[in-house]
């Protein structure tokens, strides 16, 4: 009986990924959580336990901003779920239609904004929607709907929705591509079998394809959730760190940035900033857990 050798090769092969991931992801994450438990008093860093979180949730000055940012973040997420993902699914369904011409062209055109930088997207849309130089007012004017135009990005009641829709425009390619891939992997035989049973067209999509792509939709939802609650760039690029007008576009990311790094005369407070970052982490963790244990385990999977 030969003694089994210790599987060194597994460790060797895992090491680079584990080391890099630990250095750039796991260590900073735990260090941020640790930083949230400290505060700086007279140039001295002292351990304060949960006091930063107490301030964040109980001090009205902080908690008002936090709940405002969280509420805005949920609205940002809801718009993505209601607009981005359904449109993505519809686009994928249309693209996967075998008789559609120029499918590759449409696919690339819709996906391209996804690879653009936030700064470009924010700047371009700001120009498009600008009441002074933008093409939006003149286009609306051309069809006689000038009265519908408003300086959307400057109005408290519209700014966040406008930005969410800009973000939808940018990222609609991602759900489209994922669903498209899922649709392509549905075997022809299944669809043909359905056809023989008289299920075609719309009902084939709803009764056969949709149940089969449901796991992909689940994945997209959770990616949207994580992406939206980590969002920061677009708001920062187009509205600045104060997330105007009157904090109506402030989301957790901009709130965290402003607190951590400071803004104008406000000095940065890494400890409160870390407390907000930790709260963001917990919120995302809860969301992901609800999905993993509450939804994914109950989802039916079909053998194809």
């Amino acid at each position: 009986m030969q003694k089994r050798r210790f599987p060194w090769h597994i460790i060797v092969f895992l090491a680079p990924a584990v080391l890099v991931y630990t250095a750039v992801m796991i260590f900073p994450l735990f260090n941020t959580l640790r930083l949230a438990l400290y505060s700086r008093v007279d140039q001295e860093r002292i351990y304060v336990g949960m006091q930063n979180f107490q301030t964040l949730f109980l001090d009205p000055i902080w908690s008002e901003q936090f709940w405002n940012a969280l509420g805005n973040n949920f609205w940002f997420f809801i718009i993505h779920m209601l607009v981005q993902n359904p449109i993505g699914i519809v686009l994928a369904a249309i693209l996967s239609h075998p008789r559609l011409r120029f499918a590759a062209l449409y696919r690339s055109a819709i996906f391209i904004p996804t690879i653009l930088s936030f700064v470009i997207v924010g700047f371009a849309w700001k120009l498009i929607l600008s009441p002074i130089w933008g093409i939006a007012p003149s286009m609306l004017d051309a069809v006689g709907l000038k009265s519908l135009f408003a300086p959307w990005l400057g109005k408290e009641e519209y700014a966040l929705t406008t930005l969410a829709l800009i973000s939808v425009w940018q990222f609609v390619g991602i759900p489209m591509m994922l669903i498209y891939a899922a649709l392509l992997s549905i075997p022809e035989e299944v669809l043909e079998a359905g056809e023989i049973d008289g299920i075609t067209g719309m009902s084939a999509f709803l009764k056969i394809k949709l149940p089969l792509i449901l796991p992909s939709i689940g994945i997209i939802s959770i990616l949207t959730f994580v992406g939206n609650f980590n969002a920061f760039d677009l708001i920062y690029a187009s509205q600045g760190a104060l997330a105007g007008p009157d904090f109506s576009t402030d989301i957790l990311g901009t709130f965290m940035y402003r607190t951590f790094f400071g803004f104008q005369l406000q000095l940065g407070d890494p400890h409160m900033g870390s407390a907000i970052a930790s709260a963001m982490f917990v919120i995302i963790l809860i969301g992901v857990c609800i999905y993993l244990f509450g939804i994914q385990t109950r989802m039916r999977r079909y053998q194809m």
Partner: protein, 417 residues
Amino acid sequence: MKKTIFGALLSGTALAASGALAADVTLNIESWRTDDLTLWQDKIIPAFEAANPGIKLNFNPTAPAEYNAVLNSKLEAGSAGDLITCRPFDASLALYDAGHLADLGDADGMSNFSDVAKSAWQSDDGSASFCVPMASVIHGFIYNKDAFAEVGVEVPTTEAEFFAALEAFKADGSYIPMAMGTNDQWEAATMGYNNIGPNYWKGEEGRRALIAGEQKLTDEQWVAPYATLAKWGAYLGDGYEAQTYPDSQNLFTLGRAAIYPAGSWEIAGFNTQADFEMGAFKPPVMNAGDTCYISDHTDIGIGMNAKSANPEAAKAFLNWVASPEFAAIFGNALPGFFPLSNTPVELNDPLAKEFVSWRGECESTIRSTYQILSRGTPNLENDTWGASVAAIKGTETPEALGAKLQAGLASWYAPQQ
């Protein structure tokens, strides 16, 4: 064989490197003035290097919005440059308190500045000075002379005349009466509230009383500017809610707007952009003949990184910055940034001359929120941005805004409690 060649090469480079070190000291300058890059490269650096052989300068600006955050991180990490351009007041004071900026109190050049000029970069008790004052900016209004002549409007000196002028432009319709937007928020506070405000709170008198806790933000003189700003909304361009700062600058320099609430820092840019003649008028007073107050805000200083490897060279540079020679180069190359040194500098730019002439006619003060009052949370300066925007848009009454700001300030500032 290979090894010896490699070794020779290595020692060769090492020698070359140390040779360069012995000959020249390179000082790195941290700054947020990306706009001034060519000025430094073409004028300031050559002038200094000619006078001080052996010291080389490297001007390294960061985007203004990121400067404070980037600088703090660099200082924490020990990778910041030798010379640090100082934001006024608390941002720099915090750096000094944390031991990042060296005390310059004993430098010879500091005697060239008045106490007011130095006040932006001193410890609260005035015992230590840590940045050499470089320049201040003055607030006022820049106007399109052609537009005023065309519509037949006189340059206003009182508030009634000011609104009459705006009304005349609105009635005429060929110009947007005033170019300002609220999208970026800070213009409303900086070019709005802190521009017209000193006439209400009597400059330094009100500002110091507020710091001492003798006046409150709910007092008439602090609320009234919001009531005036509320009247501005009607005279701003269509969709001013989404109009950004560059939008406003372009509207004015393209000749589409008549009046631009300004800081003197705009002068250089406007001179190159606008092809019409410009003039400037100071913030209008309530009644003709009232004492006028202007915001002559200490804006830029420069200090030394306490951990600089070349403190002697850095000090030599700072002494040069404090000299009249630097003031003359800087003041004329950057019309609108007015040197603070006691020796008067002859300016060539007519618009800049106009601004700086107000120093003789009016009482100078600085922006009300900058010293001490923006130290806590909520931050009074940031809140003033929001409040000024709300006043212009008319989403809240001036009294409610004053009450909100006062509550925020009183929550952390003991003299106001």
